[in-house]
């Protein structure tokens, strides 16, 4: 029963990692860009939610109504104003600019909010549990978080394959030049992709901030979890990120059970092992 409990906790945390990963996979799929500041944007979203909950008296989950569109606008503006200029055959500019952004966000947050750690309080839902079987309980909040992760990924999937915007995403992903000839404005398509990615980041950030303590320095580790989930799942596969996130979550849960110091190491080792055995990931597929 204990093992089942560990596995269940791991799977549910995996949903959160899948949300970290989905935003990364989305923009890599559309414009072959890796946002090194991805994790720091997750932390930024957590702080925005903190402001909304403390300033406006909203609950963290209600604050999503403000934080998601706000992060979307930030993403759109960032892509139009800065990142579009870095795209091209050379990888260096986009990598270094997003790396610079990561340092700027971290130190900016440190300046405004200090290094104190914070946590969002969601009230009674945090301690509510459901009894699945004798000796097996599951928290309502992790369950909601996992359901939201599945919904977010399903939503992205629908967006990609059922809407005009998704068609534009797939077209620019396949061949940006031809897409442009067909009347798409790539700069706008990319900006929408970044806006949606940041919307996902906002959801992930708020759920993360309810679950655990956060401070300005923890962004990079979230980037690494998201990245590992993307690679484990297979490049460009949205459902793959869910599988990757779950594998990572379960590995960490098992590691933590053996020795608390091994929680993160176990996750990294699972990733390196998969990279060794199956470098293309579990469900490799590039959009299109």
């Amino acid at each position: 029963m204990e093992l089942l409990n560990i596995l269940l906790q791991g799977v549910l945390v995996g949903g959160l990692y899948a949300m970290f990963a989905a935003g990364l996979a989305l923009i890599f799929g559309v414009m072959r860009l890796i946002n090194i500041a991805h994790g720091d944007f997750i932390v930024l979203a957590a702080y925005l939610s903190l402001i909304a909950t403390e300033g406006l008296g909203l609950g963290p989950l209600t604050s999503l109504v403000i934080v998601v569109p706000l992060m979307g606008v930030v993403g759109y503006a960032l892509q139009r104003g800065l990142l579009n200029a870095t795209l091209g055959k050379d990888l260096l500019p986009s990598l270094l600019v997003t790396f610079g952004l990561s340092i700027i966000i971290q130190n900016g947050l440190l300046q405004v909010f200090t290094a104190d750690s914070h946590k969002l309080s969601a009230g009674a839902i945090e301690v509510a549990t459901i009894k699945l079987a004798e000796g097996l309980w599951v928290g309502v909040l992790p369950l909601v978080q996992f359901a939201v992760a599945v919904a977010v990924i399903a939503g992205l999937h629908l967006l990609f394959y059922r809407t005009a915007l998704g068609r534009a995403f797939r077209a620019t992903s396949d061949d940006p030049t031809v897409a442009q000839l067909m009347g798409l404005d790539n700069r706008k398509v990319f900006a929408w992709a970044m806006a949606i990615s940041m919307g996902v980041v906002a959801v992930a950030g708020v759920f993360f901030a309810i679950r655990a303590n956060f401070d300005p320095s923890i962004g990079p580790a979230r980037l690494l979890f998201g990245f590992e989930a993307v690679i484990i799942g297979g490049l460009g596969s949205l459902w793959g990120t869910l599988a990757g996130g779950i594998i990572l979550g379960v590995a960490q849960a098992i590691g933590a059970h053996i020795d608390p110091g091994w929680q993160l190491l176990a996750g990294h080792f699972a990733f390196l092992l998969l990279l060794l055995l199956r470098p293309q990931g579990l469900f490799p597929k590039v959009f299109g």
Partner: protein, 337 residues
Amino acid sequence: MTDATVRVEHATRTSRFGTVLWIVLLVVLASVPLWGDRSDMRLLSEIFAYVALATLWNLLAGYAGMISVGQQAYVGLGGYLMFGLAIYGGVHPILAIPLAGLIAAVLSIPVAGLLFRLRGHYFAIGTWVIAEVFRLLASQISALGGGSGTSLPASIVIAMAPGRQAREVMMYGAMLLLVAAIVGACVLLLRSRYGLALTAIRDNELAARSCGVDVARTRLLVYVATACGTTMVGGLIFLQKIRISPDTAFSVNDWTAVVIFITVIGGIGRLEGPILGTIIFFLFRQTLSDLGSVYLLILGAFSIAVMLISPRGLWGFLSDRYGLQLFSLARRVRHRS
């Protein structure tokens, strides 16, 4: 037409001046222990360390096209290897430095085997995962203080050399020797056929491949050499600090962010770039150090601006405009008269 009628000339007019400049600079720097005090040597050592780290990162990213955001893995490894060898192996700390470099070179081969499965951007984040793994493993070593780190025992420090001044001179000399060796090795490497291969890979990987350049082997060579050099620099940095902990040894801000900013601002893909960048960085830091974490913020914004406006950095701009070159790395074919 045989090889005898043509020769390749590396020097230009400014690079001849540059060669003289480097020799004079080296002599002046070597004489610092005679007239400078301890704090001069400490500051200069720190500058040397950053020139060395940035030169190595530039070789990796600017020439071989492997953008790493995880070189702190090797800086920290160097520190920990030096501490381990000195405390438990009884090795003299200075001797432990090349030994650590050797161990890192061997260790970096399987690491490269894993990382080379990732391309471009993913390679970059993969290097960061490796650095995290190293950091987490270091905090599991209870013999070296676990998560809170440890200090080099006083007995080992005293046994290094008689007297504090002698120790300072020894560490300063070692750092100067190391940075000179690293920059010198880069010049030699870039002048060799490997250098030509590297420059070709940097400019167009596909074309290089079709000209018969073994891209994978050249990259592996550069990765291993960079790991070895970075580890030695890391060992010396932590020998001067006397204290090590996983968070300082594997700090991404200190050993990667700053190094990347230095290289980008100075000029990526040029040997002069990291040297110029380090000078700018230290001027920057001396003036803005009161601002605390804001100075990293400004540095980040500044390097983004450089990347967008002049992607080849300050030295790239100067050398494009005025044809400046301080290392004899040009290749001009001359007919022998």
